[in-house]
């Protein structure tokens, strides 16, 4: 069994892959349905209150999915990634691995790649479900914008995984890593209140899908963040390796 197989087995046998895929798939299937029938739902449960809901457009189906995916879905991604990336969470297990390889990088690489692939795969699964239902219930969406929006979300997921790795390398505790990563992810958009900074932040990419599908932004609006996020991710991975390697067990 190689370190790559170990990560795959970890995802499958610990049911983390199922949890990840299920969360995104459920949101993918429910998002367009919610968007299509929101008016009916509010009318059914609103009582005497009359709520005017504009007629849904195809972009609403995908947006409903991404809104949920970017909250609950991201939380699950952080939990799954932290479970793999906090190498020193259990020192006895860490000793077994760290004393048998030349460097921490060899241990972290498969964990980073597999965690990212699982997150991206789960997002893609949910997106495909949302796209199919959107086409059936609300009409077609522009494919190029959808694909570019997905690509930018992958870049953001890469940043999330790298951030989890860096924080895990520093804290060496899964719960503390999850909590800190979530706080950082929630706090990051606050910097976006300054427009010049906000356009550069990885969190700016979260709104890309919606804006691209509605035509309120073009791909060039996201280019700075799309270029900066991988650079920041690379820096975070370097920190993860450095902090993990420097920890004494």
């Amino acid at each position: 069994m190689s370190l790559w197989q170990l990560e795959w087995v970890r995802l499958v046998r610990s049911r983390r892959l199922v949890a990840l895929a299920a969360v995104y798939a459920v949101f993918g299937l429910l998002g367009p349905v919610t968007a299509r029938y929101m008016g009916d739902i509010l009318e059914r449960f609103g009582g005497d209150i009359v709520v005017q809901v504009p007629d849904p457009v195809p972009a609403d189906g995908i947006t409903q999915f991404t809104a949920n995916a970017n909250q609950i879905g991201l939380l699950v991604v952080v939990v799954v990634a932290a479970g793999a990336l906090v190498i020193d969470a259990i020192p006895e297990m860490s000793i077994f691995l760290r004393t048998r390889v030349d460097g921490v990088g060899r241990l972290l690489t498969p964990r980073l790649v597999v965690s990212f692939a699982a997150a991206a795969g789960a997002f893609l699964l949910g997106l495909l479900g949302a796209w199919y239902e959107t086409v059936v219930l609300l009409g077609s969406v522009p494919v190029a914008e959808l694909a570019f929006g997905a690509l930018l979300t992958f870049v953001y997921l890469g940043f999330v995984v790298a951030l989890t790795a860096a924080i895990g390398g520093r804290l060496a505790s899964v719960p503390a890593t999850v909590a800190t990563t979530v706080v950082v992810l929630l706090g990051l958009p606050l910097f976006g209140l300054v427009d010049a900074v906000g356009r550069l932040l990885p969190s700016h990419l979260l709104g890309a899908m919606d804006s691209l599908l509605r035509g309120t932004a073009t791909w060039t609006d996201y280019l700075p963040a799309a270029l900066l996020a991988p650079t920041v991710s690379a820096l975070l991975v370097w920190l993860a390796v450095r902090w993990t390697a420097r920890r004494e067990l």
Binding site: M1, R13, T99, E248
Partner: protein, 291 residues
């Protein structure tokens, strides 16, 4: 070969290791003993590359890929089977030989549970699995922290046999607080106390160096009278009752005792059941050095 020179390590104000000097020759089985908190785990962790020393040097003539470390309470991902854990250890050490994996699982007494997930393993079984994972890649340096601590007497004996079989093929550095285990399998021993090495060398040198000129005499009758009579002799340093009908006689030299002791006992006139030099154990030497 491991050579440690002037090694020091502090945790805040506390000095965990102080001016440690030790040498472990290639192929030796080296026992590191010491009371709790003596610094054994810190020293092993530094040698394993898991902690950094504050002072001194460590030279190890074996590459990282040829080393294996077993912590005192090994743990593995609970959803892996025993075979997969050993397979993972093998793959990290080089090309994997499936027959070798089977062989080490059998040697560790885990052949029947090889395909069970380790989440349900007892501490003793995890210890055996750790031993199997340690041996599978044929390391040239093996660092074992209390490898037999969690095992029952039979399991401990098996682990000690495994350690003894490694002599000559691998260098084994082995910490234990069970001194009998160290005495049984180690060629060399280091006694660590309060972060300092109190003795370092061959087990036989340690025992010989600590050899005292003490005899135990078992008599039939009044042992107290024998002790009093012997105390009066000039070649006797001290004599006292050391148990029911047992007299403990410390003499000034073995040569003097060999000449005079039997005659003195005959003169006292009480029947002598047995007469033997007091055995020196590693435990007694250890207690003396760390007192």
């Amino acid at each position: 070969m491991i050579r440690v020179r002037a090694l020091g390590k502090r945790y805040g104000d506390r000095r965990a290791l102080d001016d440690i000097e030790l040498t472990v020759p290639d192929g030796a089985v080296y026992g590191l003993v010491g009371p709790n908190g003596a610094g054994k785990t810190t020293l092993l962790s530094i040698l394993a590359g898991l902690r950094r020393p504050d002072a001194g040097t460590v030279e190890i003539s074996v590459g990282v890929g040829e080393r294996a470390v077993l912590p005192d309470a090994p743990r593995f991902d609970k959803w892996l089977t025993a075979r997969e854990v050993v397979g993972l250890a093998a793959s990290l050490g080089g090309p994997v030989d499936p027959d070798r994996i089977v062989a080490v699982l059998e040697e560790a007494g885990l052949a029947e549970t090889a395909d069970r997930r380790v989440g349900g393993f007892s501490r003793g079984m995890l210890q055996r699995l750790g031993i199997a994972a340690t041996l599978v890649s044929g390391p040239r340096l093996v660092i074992l922290d209390e490898p037999a601590a969690a095992l029952d007497p039979a399991g401990r004996r098996e682990v000690l046999d495994v350690v003894a079989r490694m002599r000559g093929t691998a260098t084994v550095l082995f910490s234990s607080h069970i001194l009998g285990d160290v005495q049984a399998v180690c060629d060399r021993v280091g006694i660590l106390d309060h972060g300092r090495i109190r003795f370092e060398g061959a087990v036989s040198e340690l025992l010989a160096g600590a050899g005292r000129t003490v005899y135990l005499v078992r008599v039939r009758g009044d042992a107290r009278r024998v002790a009093e009579r012997l105390s009066a002799r000039e070649w006797v340093r001290s004599a006292g009752v050391a148990g029911e009908q047992v007299v403990r006689v410390e003499v000034t030299s073995l040569a003097e005792a060999e000449i005079h002791l039997v005659a003195a006992l005959a003169e006292i006139g009480l029947p002598v059941i047995s007469l033997e030099p007091e055995a020196v154990s590693l435990e007694s030497v250890f207690l003396e050095l760390t007192r």
